[in-house]
């Protein structure tokens, strides 16, 4: 498959593209099998439950809880070095029952608690819009 610009997309690039397109439009969306309603994450070609190929991308209300996190001051990724320290986190998005990774913002490291309620906030980072998460106000 190619983009409208003609660049070749790998299978995985094609499968994740709707996630990033949705994020660019301010939506946190996840793929659900049209046959058995199972969410497949990360997106696979065939539903891991019933092997169906069709998906609908369901918008989440963006509410989640923190499962775990780290505070990183070391510049592992040069493109993020002007944003250090960052807080990469593993979170549970509640309405879709999906564990995803993200970064936490608008929170001090000392305030972080497991299970803390958080919500999505879309931020432009580099050349794309990322769904990041902040404490629910």
């Amino acid at each position: 498959m190619t983009t409208s610009q003609g660049a070749f997309l790998t299978l995985e690039q094609r499968l994740v593209k709707p996630f990033w397109d949705a994020a660019a439009n301010g939506s946190l969306s996840f793929p659900r099998c049209t046959e058995c309603q199972t969410f497949n994450w990360y997106p696979t070609l065939l539903c891991h439950n019933c092997y169906n190929k069709e998906r609908e991308w369901v918008p989440s209300n963006g509410k989640a809880t923190i499962y775990s996190w780290s505070v990183v001051a070391f510049p592992f990724l040069p493109e993020l070095s002007d944003q250090l320290p960052i807080i990469p986190a593993s979170i549970d998005v509640m309405d879709v029952g999906i564990r995803m990774v993200t970064r936490l913002v608008n929170v001090a490291a000392g305030e972080l608690r497991p299970g803390m309620p958080i919500e999505v906030t879309f931020r432009e980072v580099g050349d794309r819009i990322l769904p990041l998460f902040q404490p629910t106000l």
Partner: protein, 386 residues
């Protein structure tokens, strides 16, 4: 799932060998492996041309079976295998796979090896590469800064601290033990011991992990020769064998953050190795445990059944893990301080301990366990003489 005893009974470990373990050797992976393999075959007292099975314990290694055969002038190969996973599972797997080839009559003398010139050949071996190359990780995780390994394992460590009150000091005690052990090892990358004070003075790399919590990245190689047990011939050294083994695999590398509980490793699915060997955890004299991070070593102590889930902090405080403890862990210094050969060096150490020829010898070492963590893939071997 336990490996059938019939397979394990077919093979004995008759030779072990390593390259020098240094930060930067200036040598390629292939050269380090040729050295390690020659040392292992010399240790066994076998001629390289008697090797008829070659197992590469990591598919990234460039020294593939046909290169081994060209190098050592073999005219014929009967068996070969290579494994796709990354981490410590491959190494345990390679030994049981060698036993299987022998059990099924496909080979008599199998060499298993792993090596990586992680510094000299940095472009090939950057540990971050296997993750950055994974499409889901590069597309869905790297953009969020969830990368590389210290970040993932920091979140596993934190979860254990959250749920069980484990402290950074417990991680530090493991780091101190590994550095103590390596300081007594004539073939180790890091030879200076540290104190707990030194540990706490190190800055965080990814909280709560500090540099001493993270394994080495260095040049090194190790090889093991597995031969038909009870064959008519004599080998140079007392044979060592695997008396129980188990392997478990959970869904894919790509899904690491989606593991339901970060406080549990796949090691927990391999405890049937003990039952298969007919021994209890408290009978083990020493353990060689895959220590990519102090926190992963810590979780395996629990998951292998050496203490109850959640109680490893108490275990570290009361039983301890160093050479003076009831069950020393990684007397060679492990990945943390001896060498990053992804656990093949651990199996070599286990063999030396059981033979009584280790640099830092555990007194009365008769039973050892290898715990080969690979996150979603795990191999556990119980080793004994004979």
């Amino acid at each position: 799932m336990a490996i059938p005893q019939r397979i394990l009974d077919a093979g004995s470990i008759v030779g072990v060998g390593e390259s020098r373990h240094v930060k930067r050797s200036g040598k390629s992976t292939n050269e380090l492996l040729i050295e390690a393999c020659k040392n292992a075959m010399d240790d066994a007292g076998i001629d390289p041309k008697e090797i008829d099975g070659v197992i590469v314990a990591d598919e990234r290694v460039s020294f593939k079976p046909h290169k081994f055969e060209i190098e050592f002038g073999l005219k014929q190969r009967r068996f070969h295998a290579m494994s796709p996973w990354y981490g410590g599972c491959n190494q345990g797997w390679s030994i049981t796979m060698a036993c299987m080839a022998i059990a099924e009559g496909l080979a008599n003398n199998v060499i298993c090896y792993m090596g990586r010139a992680s510094v000299t050949e940095r472009e090939n071996w950057d540990p971050r590469k296997v993750h950055a190359d994974d499409p889901y990780k590069s597309l869905m995780e790297v953009p969020f800064g969830w990368f590389p390994q210290p970040v993932y394992f920091a979140t596993y460590a934190r979860r254990h601290m959250i749920e069980y009150g484990t402290k950074e000091e417990h991680l530090g005690k493991i780091a101190v033990a590994m550095r103590l052990h390596a300081s007594k090892n004539s073939n180790a990358v890091v030879r200076d011991a540290i104190t707990l004070g030194d540990y706490f003075a190190s800055p965080y790399v990814a909280e709560p992990l500090r540099r001493p919590d993270c394994c080495l990245i260095n040049d090194g190689a190790a090889a093991v020769v597995v031969s038909r047990r009870n064959s008519e011939r004599d080998f140079r050294k007392e044979p060592i064998r695997v008396i129980g083994a188990s392997e478990a695999h959970e869904p894919g590398l790509t899904h690491w953050p989606q593991r339901a509980k970060y406080t549990e490793t796949t090691a927990g699915l391999t405890t049937d190795a003990f039952a298969a060997a007919g021994i209890r955890q408290d009978e083990i004299d020493f353990a060689v445990i895959y220590d990519c991070f102090t926190s992963t070593l810590m979780l395996q102590i629990e998951d292998l059944g050496f203490c109850k889930k959640g109680e490893v902090g108490d275990y570290i405080d009361s039983v301890g893990v160093d050479i003076n403890s009831k069950m020393p862990i990684n007397p060679h210094g492990g990945l943390l301080a001896q060498s990053y050969v992804q656990g093949m060096n651990h199996i070599v150490e286990a063999v030396r301990q059981l033979r009584g020829e280790a640099d830092l010898q555990v007194e009365g070492a008769n039973l050892g366990v290898y715990s080969g963590f690979g996150d979603t893939d795990h191999s556990t071997l119980i080793l004994a003489k004979g």
